[in-house]
Amino acid sequence: MRGAGGGANDVQWCFSQVKGAIDDDVAEADIISTVEFNHSGELLATGDKGGRVVIFQQDTENKSLPQCRSEYNVYSTFQSHEPEFDYLKSLEIEEKINKIRWLPQKNAAQFLLSTNDKTIKLWKISERDKRPEGYNLKEEDGRCRDSTTITTLRVPVFRPMDLMVEASPRRVFANAHTYHINSISVNSDNETYLSADDLRVNLWHLEITDRSFNIVDIKPANMEELTEVITAAEFHPHQCNTFVYSSSKGTIRMCDMRASALCDKHSKLFEEPEDPSNRSFFSEIISSISDVKFSHSGRYMMTRDYLSVKIWDLNMENRPVETYQVHEYLRSKLCSLYENDCIFDKFECCWNGNDSVVMTGSYNNFFRMLERTQRRDITLEASRESSKARQVLKPRRVCAGGKRKKDEISVDSLDFNKKILHTAWHPQENIIAVATTNNLYIFQEKVN
């Protein structure tokens, strides 16, 4: 494992690649809505608002050479979801891909789950690099041969062809969610997965599409008594009976499926008491958890709310073990962020391969790396200006108030339209994928 961890300050990050259109006029369909590495890190999938999935593959030809930087190139592109219309409710169903999750590889083909607001699909991505030639009854282009002209028999043989990557939908899991799906998570048993919407969590078997089991239901009898919704859910990486779901109230509930069929009663409730000195009009909004992720070890989990990242030890429910401020300078700007709707942005977070560093996005195309062992943090920027090959990224600093130092940027100059909501970290190497509005930046560790 080549430097899978290392402190944030030990590692220097360099620009590697940028994917997507250069022009500033962003087409809405091109807005990236999810980014995910597969289990080996060889494949990197992105989903966008137009319902497309683009998969990049790491170029492994020169991987053995330490000097070489592995590049990601387009491997497959397909239309995963189309816009639909619910006639009963007179509602349009967006084709935007909310989440992509890869299945662990079992054979030559790759499988991933992609979901929009209502429907989950299992896609098979397979390679074809040879094709049969020499059929007796049909020509190479498929036309039937006139049987009267056939005088000899031959055995068709496989001949090499240009690599073709095919994506085919193998399963469609539909009609199980009344509300908008926010998460999917594959179980460690490789047979089941969960999908969560605002009020319910459903358990599916990968082979069965016509039914799913509802395992969590927080819908109140009277909707007017609704006080919280589910914002994210994930299976434990090793314990196939355990999953967690986060709420808009800032709580995380851990459930054990062995306890009962319906997991409405949690086995653990993770909640930190609110700091009364920070109370404001917007306390409820900023405490809503936008993402929850287990560490690779399964010992910790990380939650992201509007201003901070918290790391929880699964054995301690009353408070997180670590809290990192992502952009505390925004606390005094909450009113403006409410006005321009930015306060509703849902940032994701991710762990590095050995759980020593966590990463999350911010505004102005900044993203933050938070190193856990030495409690150090760094702010980097994904920008076209710092996009020269192997250019080392310079740490950025935001000036909260008072005199602005050289190289610092003031809070008021931040571009709140440039937000990094989705980031992903290679499972083994120091390679990260950071999605700006419509571009995907790939950064790698500087190799000396």
């Binding site: 509602l91 609704l226 109370r279 009009f281 409820e284 909004i285 809503s288 409410y338 006005e339």
Partner: protein, 196 residues
């Protein structure tokens, strides 16, 4: 911007965001609607508390000037000297426009605690009949219209909302008139405003 002004602005924005989310692609987002409702509720509570404080201060000033004129009338209406609600009720009748407020203040025993709660209680009880009470549509969180808005209005401009908010506030505040004028209650009200 003062607290009540900020609260009002937040409420108005919450309303416009909720209305605009109806036309959003993909339908109403439950999470967003819930958060907006929560923001609006806390802004509304703070707005009413802040208005209460300013109303009380105004009435304090008014009552001080009229107390001298009303001394004779007080003596005739006053039942017992220990009755807390006696004097303020009488003054209320003279100082307020609404009679329902007087009735409510008579029933309350602890004005300091009740004031904040009462405002909210007033709002709910005073609200006009729900515009969609005969509707067959399910009244979920997302379909509920704020009760002080006229129904079936596609667009609300902030001026209209402000006017309605202003009227609603006056109606509900009338019940708290002339409640305890002592420093304790005033301090409590101020504290309420500041911490929120």
């Amino acid at each position: 911007m003062d607290i009540s002004g900020q609260a009002k602005r937040i409420m108005v924005q919450a309303l416009s965001k909720m209305y605009s989310s109806r036309t959003q692609r993909g339908g109403l987002r439950l999470h967003r609607s819930l958060l907006l409702t929560l923001v609006m509720k806390s802004a509304r509570d703070i707005y009413h508390s802040a208005r209460l404080v300013s109303e009380k201060e105004e009435q304090c000033a008014r009552l001080v000037s009229t107390t001298k004129d009303l001394t004779q009338k007080e003596e005739s209406i006053d039942t017992t000297s220990t009755e807390v609600s006696g004097i303020p009720v009488a003054l209320c009748a003279l100082a307020t426009r609404s009679s329902e407020g007087v009735q409510r203040s008579k029933n309350e025993s602890d004005p300091t605690v009740q004031n904040a709660r009462e405002t909210r209680v007033d709002k709910e009880n005073c609200s006009p009949p729900r515009p969609d009470r005969h509707s067959r549509k399910r009244r979920g969180k997302t379909a509920t219209e704020p009760d002080f808005l006229p129904c079936k209005k596609a667009k609300m401009d902030s001026g209209e909302v402000r006017r309605i908010l202003h009227d609603a506030t006056l109606r509900s505040n009338s019940g708290n008139c002339g409640r305890e004028m002592d420093t304790l209650s005033t301090t409590h009200m101020l504290r309420t405003v500041v911490t929120c």
